[in-house]
Amino acid sequence: AERSNLAGVQHVLLVLSGKGGVGKSTVATELALALRLAGKRVGILDVDLCGPSIPRMFRVQDSAVHQCDSGWVPVFAHQDKSISLMSIGFLLEKPDDAVVWRGPKKNALIKQFVSDVAWGELDFLIVDTPPGTSDEHISTVEALRPHKPLGAILVTTPQAVSVGDVRRELTFCKKTGLRVLGIIENMSGFICPHCSECTNIFSKGGGEELAKHAGVPFLGSVPLDPQLSQSLEDGRDFIQEFPKSSAFPALAHIAQQILDGTSPRSS
């Protein structure tokens, strides 16, 4: 039998959230950069077909995808090929083109993304999803099922409307048999760079409470950090360039927990 394109991938992680704009792509990007710094080979699969953010966050939005014998070659974010990316953003003629597709077309492309991309040997494949629990999610989970994904990381902001949507996503994970690795509370508080006063713009604690209530691990709270937003705009490596910034400790801790959870345990 032909070797599947995902055979060389050790662990598949999904980044989910019921709510939009909570920082899924940000978390996926920073997690990938942190795992890379720890010496791992990482890939990111961006299944957000309507709003692909991953190419922009690595500043490779003008790259094109090439074909090889086993399928599509992922785009490499750095010269050392340590992070490979696949997104619909690379397949559009112009990065601003809108993808106004109905479900069946999206499903077909997602199936191709999962089975026809030559990922090669990877330690982690992080799948960045769009908000909601729709076609993209159903198709992604179905297509990844034979490859036994490690689990899902749920991202939320602390406010009630976000937590409400993420509670639904938890039910989705339970129904589809996807293990929840933990919840991340993003945009948790803002520290004024001038006077260091902390303001909970989007409230605080909602994500942690949800994790406790649902009995899933709480991976950490990431504060609002203008340096993080800026480095994503510029496609820079936040983990390497801003280790003293307010969001760094939380992100590093999250990556460490993922590494600890996947390290080979002696029986």
Partner: protein, 305 residues
Amino acid sequence: MSLFQSVGCFVVVSFLWENCSLSSSSRDEVLRDKRAQIMSRGLPKQKPIEGVKQVLVLASGKGGVGKSTAAVNIALALAANDSTKEVGLLDADIYGPSIPKMMNLKGNPELTPKNLMRPLKNYGIACMSMGFLIEETAPVVWRGLMVMSAVEKLLRQVDWGHLDYLVIDMPPGTGDVQLSVSQNVPIAGAVIISTPQDIALLDARKGAEMFRKVHVPVLGLVQNMSVFQCPKCKHETHIFGADGARDLAKSLELDVLGDIPLHVNIRETCDSGQPVVISQPQSDAAKAYLRIAMEIVKRLPVPPA
């Protein structure tokens, strides 16, 4: 040659003559018209919603930029600016309905004798959302086809009564729901909401392009979460970047309808179900929403009588 054969020849000759005498450009035109005719037979027909004068759509392309927050506050602002207007609010986000929480509404809608759903009302606004039809923790794990029929029901099987404006809060993205709504309902105008970040603007641009594709007039852009002022030292930080939305509006030749700052009280009031336009009408945030509602009304076409 028999009579039949000569008539046949005549028909063939006159057909050939007619086509030769048409210039290639007018022949192309005829072909194009015919193609358009055949294509239009397959597309869904736009039917106005009974009782609703004008439909206003709030969209963004990107998630989490404040569509629902703005939809709720703009609907209230439209009513506050002109108390003679009746306003309705439809939450078209099937997967993540936020309107019930923000409008402090709960419960299953009643059915009228005509088997239509009665919208739930609060603060004078008639609301309908998927959130009223499902449990709070139940996810809606549906493929596009089912979503389309759900949106159709939320649009047409509701007893809206007589509304001057129906504000539709769209979900993020450019997919089934956006297409279904734009193709089935005549929309008076669309407002795009974005934060100043490039990532959000990229998706906002796609949202605007989608509306152009389906011939929905885009009234303008709203820049949300534009700046944060520390409540203690009043220092201003542009957490999500500065003025990106204004630059996008310029490049798309759209007006900026307004700027909404990042204020803790906007989020607090929405979380508690008392939107800022109602609970703190003198605040900067409320005034920003009231101004935006005024700008929207200025740009809407004259409503039908």
